[in-house]
């Protein structure tokens, strides 16, 4: 059990010519469930391998608690504890189960290496197999398992140990929807019980939102934003974060900021919105210029006097809500309607939730409003 601190870490696969991760700074608290989230190729696995000690960064330091695990200076090794001495458990994206062993042997392998007594190993393996519904499969060989079963074995193999740190690289990728929910719940519960610092890599924002205490959103080797799921969702620091979190994706409009009747309005062409009083001050520098306005699909509602009038394009029922695609000028916009019945009209009048508007600088894409 340990906090993880990363200081100024850069990782390069070509000796410093280009960097996959660029001066990353991060601290993960003891016992925290931290999710690395980001699109494919953004460096999530690379960051995790560096923590595991499977990869030597180009520069920077990694601490577990107060213990220095990795210290690199321009490609030179100053301190480097090898992975087998870091006491971590890891689930790889490719499962990496040992094909020459049965499920039971796979799960027992690390304990056997640590010379844990046999009865203890049996007890731990059986207990974990029970939780992950692997008991009937314990004596099978890996080749005889389905993808989802393999994934659960990989998870079980990590969970039988009591490591300092859990590293999980997309461990639920191959499970079907029902099993994924179940294993997700089980995993989160076990993590909370054991209170082990966990780094969890995924590109699935739903997984990140539901499981994380702390999300680190990466893009192109840089941290876009970190914080609790709600901080990232409610106050995205830039347009990338706003677009990455939330399904369906946030609607973004190009708006002109114009002065009108002593106040400001946002003119999106197809509609105009008055700027809420608390936002006026931060929009002053943009008067006469453009901003990007973000409205989440669920942050709108039907309102006969609403400022937005739009034509209904198509409706998708979700069961408990409807996704209504509306055209606003040239743009197709999504509106998530939580009503009982889909609206029958061709034309809808909508009003956004003014407390939940997101404004971004069109050049830097950084957030403007508080």
């Amino acid at each position: 059990m340990a906090a993880i601190t990363i200081k100024d870490m850069s990782v390069s696969y070509n000796k410093g010519k280009t960097f996959v991760l660029d001066r990353l700074n991060l601290s993960i608290k003891d016992g925290e469930f931290c999710v690395f989230l980001g699109p494919s190729g953004c460096g999530k696995s690379t960051a995790m391998y560096s923590i595991a000690g499977l990869l030597e960064p180009y520069a920077g330091q990694i601490y577990f608690g107060d213990t220095l695990m990795t210290e690199m200076d321009k490609g030179k090794k100053k301190t480097f504890i090898p992975p087998q001495e870091r006491n971590i458990a890891m689930v790889f994206q490719e499962y990496a189960l040992y094909p020459n062993m049965t499920v039971r042997e796979n799960m027992a392998f690390s304990l056997k290496t640590k010379k844990v007594p046999k009865e203890e190993i049996d007890r731990l393996v059986n207990e974990q197999a029970e939780k992950l519904e692997l008991t009937p499969l314990l004596d099978r060989r890996i080749a005889q398992l389905s993808g989802g079963q393999r994934q659960r074995v990989a998870l079980g193999r990590a969970l039988v140990r009591s490591p300092q740190v859990f590293l999980l690289d997309e461990p639920l990728g191959n499970l079907d929807a029902k099993l994924r929910d179940q294993v997700r719940y089980e995993l989160k519960k076990i993590q909370r019980e054991l209170n082990i610092t966990t780094v969890y890599v995924t590109h699935d924002q739903t997984e990140a939102m539901t499981m994380a205490d702390h999300i680190v959103l990466l893009n192109g080797g840089n941290i876009m934003q970190e914080g609790t799921p709600n901080e990232l969702y409610d106050h995205p620091a830039n347009e990338f974060v706003a677009g990455f979190l939330g399904t369906p994706q946030i609607n973004i409009f190009d708006c002109q900021v114009v002065e009108k009747d002593n106040g400001l309005v946002l003119d999106a062409g197809a509609f105009t919105l008055p700027v809420p009083a608390d936002t006026v001050a931060c929009l002053q520098p943009y008067v006469g210029g453009a901003v990007h306005l973000g409205i989440r699909p669920a942050d709108m509602d039907l309102d006969p006097n609403g400022p937005i009038t739009a034509h209904v394009d198509s409706i998708e029922p979700l069961g408990d809500a409807y996704l209504i695609y509306i055209s606003l000028g040239e743009k197709l916009v999504v509106f998530k309607y939580a009503g009982e019945k889909a609206p029958a009209e061709e034309e809808l009048h909508l009003s956004p939730n003014f407390a939940k508007l997101h404004l971004f600088d069109p050049a830097t894409e950084a957030r403007i409003n508080a």
Binding site: Y49, A52, L54, P82, P83, Q84, I88, A89, M90, F92, Q93, E94, Y95, A96, L97, Y98, P99, N100, F109, S110, T113, K114, I142, A143
Partner: protein, 301 residues
């Protein structure tokens, strides 16, 4: 609907095939010529072998007087018992050298291949290139220094000296072969084993070797055949006494020239005996050798 279609299509295809197969006379002639040529070649190729087999079952008088390809009038094991008597020691020596030499070179090669394929270190590529170059080294070029070295170890005319030389000289080939196989072991497995608390050699022992058994067998068989058929080292490193080795023993067999002339039946029987071990290995292991690759040896993914 779709199945109907396929049935119709296959009928059509069948019809088309029947039409195509309908033989034309010049094609038939061509076929006959093919087979005649093939059979002639086969006969020429097999004739010496056939001669050796039948002669080995004749008595010495019959072998020297009758046609070499005629079946024996009287089947006799005399040739075999005679040859076995004279070949006993060389056969045993050869077997020991082959098995231990192959095992030694496979072991050395496997260790090198593992280090070269799964661990990055400085000079990694340089070492590998040196090894590959060593594979192509003509042994004749280094015979004298080799002989001196073996002598200085006091291993001249000692089969363990030959075992040592084969182990070392077989290593580059084994390394090259096994490096290819080990490259197929997924890196994630190695990383996982490290995470599970294992060092480099524990991983080798617990993960890499058990998952590449077929690779080991293939390389071992390959080494066995090449060592068994190897004459040069045996010729140079042993005197022709106690430590004589089997392939050389054909020269020994030529010493079967007795008062009555060459004992052909023994010579032939001896050749059969010498061919037998490799024949057996090929019958049992042939399919791995032919496929050349160890498809399925790494079942990790």
């Amino acid at each position: 609907m779709q199945s109907n279609l396929t049935i119709e299509r296959s009928k059509e295809a069948q019809a088309a095939q029947t039409v195509r197969i309908k033989p034309k006379w010049h094609k038939v002639v061509l076929h006959i010529v093919y087979y005649v040529v093939l059979i002639v070649f086969l006969v020429f190729y097999m004739l010496p072998f056939w001669g050796a087999v039948v002669s080995s079952f004749k008595s010495n008088t019959e072998a020297t007087t009758s046609s070499p390809i005629a079946l024996p009038q009287e089947w006799s094991m005399e040739g075999y018992s005679g040859a076995l008597e004279k070949l006993k020691t060389p056969l045993l020596n050869s077997l020991v050298v082959t098995v231990f030499g192959a095992a030694g070179s496979v072991f050395l090669g496997s260790v090198c291949a593992y280090a070269l394929s799964k661990w990055k270190f400085r000079l990694n590529n340089v070492l590998f290139i040196a090894l590959v170059a060593a594979t192509y080294l003509p042994f004749q070029a280094i015979l004298i220094p080799l002989l001196k070295t073996v002598q200085s170890f006091g291993l001249y005319d000692n089969i363990w000296g030959v075992v040592m030389v084969h182990s070392i000289f077989g290593m580059p080939m084994c390394t090259t072969m096994m490096r290819g196989y080990y490259a197929e072991v997924p890196d994630a497995l190695i990383k996982q084993a490290m995470i599970d608390g294992n060092g480099m050699w524990q991983i080798y022992r617990k993960i890499v070797v058990p998952n590449t058994k077929l690779a080991t067998i293939t390389t071992f068989v390959f080494q066995c055949t090449s060592i068994w058929n190897e004459m040069l080292f045996a010729l140079v490193l042993t005197a022709q006494g106690e430590s004589a080795m089997a392939p050389l023993a054909t020269t020994v067999l030529q010493g079967f020239v007795g008062a009555t002339g060459v004992e052909i039946n023994q010579l032939m029987a001896g050749s059969m005996i010498l061919a037998l071990p490799m024949l057996v290995i090929y019958i049992f292991m042939g399919k791995y050798l032919i496929s050349g690759q160890m498809s399925g040896a790494v079942t990790a993914s």
